[in-house]
Amino acid sequence: MSKDRVSRRQFLSYTLTGVGGFMAAGILMPMVRFAVDPVLKAEAAGEFVATKQKVADLTNEPVRVDFTYKQKDAWYESDVTESAWVYKDDAGKIVALSPVCKHLGCTVNWNSDKEHPEQFFCPCHYGRYTKDGTNVPGTPPLAPLDVYPFKEKDGYLYLGKAKPRKEA
């Protein structure tokens, strides 16, 4: 027996504080996690997806780069393949444009219209964009093509989520 004995009252209050503390933590921790969740999500949105394109192989001629990521559709998870038109501009800077037409969402192709070479061409309603993605006035699209943010890692090109530009 030690000199200062723990009284029944003290013992009970220690036990209650301990157990109560655990219970409070059990309730509060999920709540804190939920509150913090949106912050963690925002980080995930900025994810970059690897492509098979080597940065060194890029020229000033736009090439189609396909990349695949997972997308969840309700309970169905699927691989989504998207494309980008990638080239190096005159200053040697990489430009990655989304192939989705800003009119109604068709896929645009590079240099496929014989009458208007060196342009992006939408076969659906003959919309056109210049090489930097700016919409040609007088054709249906009203905004320039979206731009992918990109990163270079180990010599390969990584693409992020396409972002719209300000109207031309």
Binding site: D66, T81, V100, C101, L104, C106, C124, H125
Partner: protein
């Protein structure tokens, strides 16, 4: 545009731009040919989905027209003609049927829309990138077919 509420709404607001209907035709067998039937459906589904991605702004991809393989030919044709009437009445100018059922080649004359017949390629042993390149090359040929048809009527 796909057969989902968001896309159908876009279609309703931009009807003058969406003048082409694409209807996949699925033949269904429950007996001996069940596997081929499923393989053909998978192939046509992938193909039309990819086609829709290329031409989102000008085509509306309908839910597939499905019929039993052993159904009487006249009945199937009458049913599809009925679809056709409704589709044209809704304001579409072009209708494309995409199928891998050989029967439709003989029935094309009875329809106003164009039947595109493609031999089904078994996809079950391919991995995803292989599937993609294969479908991509098939759809490339369809693209020219579609643009040609559009040019004819302009």
């Amino acid at each position: 545009m796909k057969w989902i509420p968001q896309d159908v709404e876009t279609y309703s607001n931009a009807k003058e731009y969406v003048d082409t209907a694409v209807v996949p035709l699925y033949s269904v067998t429950v007996g001996g040919g069940i596997k081929q039937s499923a393989a053909a459906a998978e192939f046509i589904t992938l193909l039309t989905t990819y086609l829709e991605k290329q031409f989102t702004g000008r085509i509306l991809l309908f839910p597939p027209f499905t019929y039993l393989e052993n159904e009487q030919s006249e009945r199937v044709v009458t049913d599809l003609q009925n679809w056709e009437v409704n589709i044209f009445e809704a304001g579409f100018k072009h209708v494309f049927y995409i199928t891998s059922d050989l029967e439709w080649r003989g029935r094309e004359a009875q329809l106003e829309g164009s039947v595109i017949w493609l031999p089904s390629i078994p996809l079950e042993h391919m991995n995803d990138p292989q599937k993609l390149t294969m479908i991509d090359s098939q759809v490339k040929q369809l693209l020219t077919l579609f643009t040609q048809k559009w040019h004819e009527n302009e």
